[in-house]
Amino acid sequence: MRKFICIVCPKGCHLEVDDQLKVTGNSCKRGETYGISEATNPVRMVTSTVKIKSELITRLPVRTDQPIPKSRIFDVMAEINKLEVTAPVAIKDVLIANVLGLGSNIIATRTVEK
């Protein structure tokens, strides 16, 4: 039996998911889906910043463009921290393609012209 707080809506139902993936405590169908995904394959978006050589700013905000497994967040952070980029950079530029083979790119989330 595993316990989660549902984040599908602000109500925050306290879910319990058993070994057969039966969800209890939810008030709606979406809560059941959330409970099962948290119990089987929880994923998260990762956002951070990297060093940038630019006349305007010193840190460039970045993120994964797809959610990655929760268990790999710190591995992805380690890859992000190796990055150093030089302006110009456009929003959505891919800085690392398919990071650690997880099917997600690391992309820039701010345009820096110079």
């Binding site: 707080i5 978006m45 910043t49």
Partner: protein, 416 residues
Amino acid sequence: MMIHYDLVVIGGGSAGLAAAISAYDQGIRKIIILEKDPYLGGILLQCIHNGFGLHQFKTEMSGPEYAEKYIEELKTRAIEYRTTAMVLKITPELEVHYSNANDGYQIIKAKAIICATGCSERTRGAISIPGDRVAGVMTAGQAQRYLNIEGYMVGKKVFILGSGDIGLIMARRMVLEGAEVLGVAEIMPYSNGLNRNIVQCLQDYHIPLYLHHTVKKIIGKERVEKIILGEVDDNFQFIPGHDKEFVIDTLLLSVGLIPSNPLLENIGIAIHPKTKGPIVDESLQTSIPGIFACGNGLHVHDLVDFVSGEGERAGIFASRYIKGELQAKQENLILEAKNGISYIMPSKINLNHVDQVLLSFRVAKPYLNVYLKVSLNGKEIKKIKKLYLLPAEMESLVLNKDILQAGTLTLEVLDA
């Protein structure tokens, strides 16, 4: 020499950008945005986390991406803006005094002004935490700026006081950057942050949340060395023998946001006792005709999407004012927050100005399975079932004019 503009928007963050764009789309052509920072975008630029835009764009993005969407929109229109431009004062005659390095000291005469000046964080002084005056104690938003914009780590062993969203977001952010976050304390028996942040910022990283706790004392010589955390009872009195000690080097405060309105207060504009923003009518107009307010400078929002929405509305109403369509200033419906409602925005409504009214409000404490009751002059006109109402979530309600008339409208929470 006085420069003339139709509309001056003070603040180039999410509210100001949306306001300028919407006023332009209403046909107003001489618009200028005055922004104090070196770039447009406001606080969004340091909010690098995800989750913005779900309502406005039906997709999730980070703060800088959300800002860039609006900045791109702005640049497709002939809207002027000045950065590093500090507004020093405004006058009831709709003059705006600002200065920056390029323009020097300038006075603009406007036909309307929209104040979109955002909010500021409550500090250690605002909640009077006893103890040593040491380095390493700062607001969560300040730490967010150091880390995400300047690129400085503010500490390695961190405790966070207050469960506001910025505090929760910074708990995760500090952990991801290699710090140890020992806990988050909240004096109330419930969190003030959004649920998804409790889960994804604290639970994901096994950071304990101490409800009904607050910092009793800050101890240190040059820099904070430890804190004493105390547990409080239902009357917020410390329970003897329940103290905990944490060895830390940084204490972040996330203990509330207050609309930032010195420009308005200086000219005597009436301030709402609860929201600390100006008192406005249905057109988001303050007590001085032609001066409008929106965004976190009007009342603190949880989601930027609603800030943008309010900015758009301020742009529309300011345009109508400039075109001479909002002349009658007397309000004929007064709004009153009663049982369980912390505040309602706007405070008053001129029914001649609108076909429907959008009310924004917050509850004073969490409720499950209740009714919202709307009464007009003491008679119930609407009752809405709510599965939940939370102080951390701003609520809204649209009322059509046909059910309204002059008098007093009250909003209250009723047990089911």
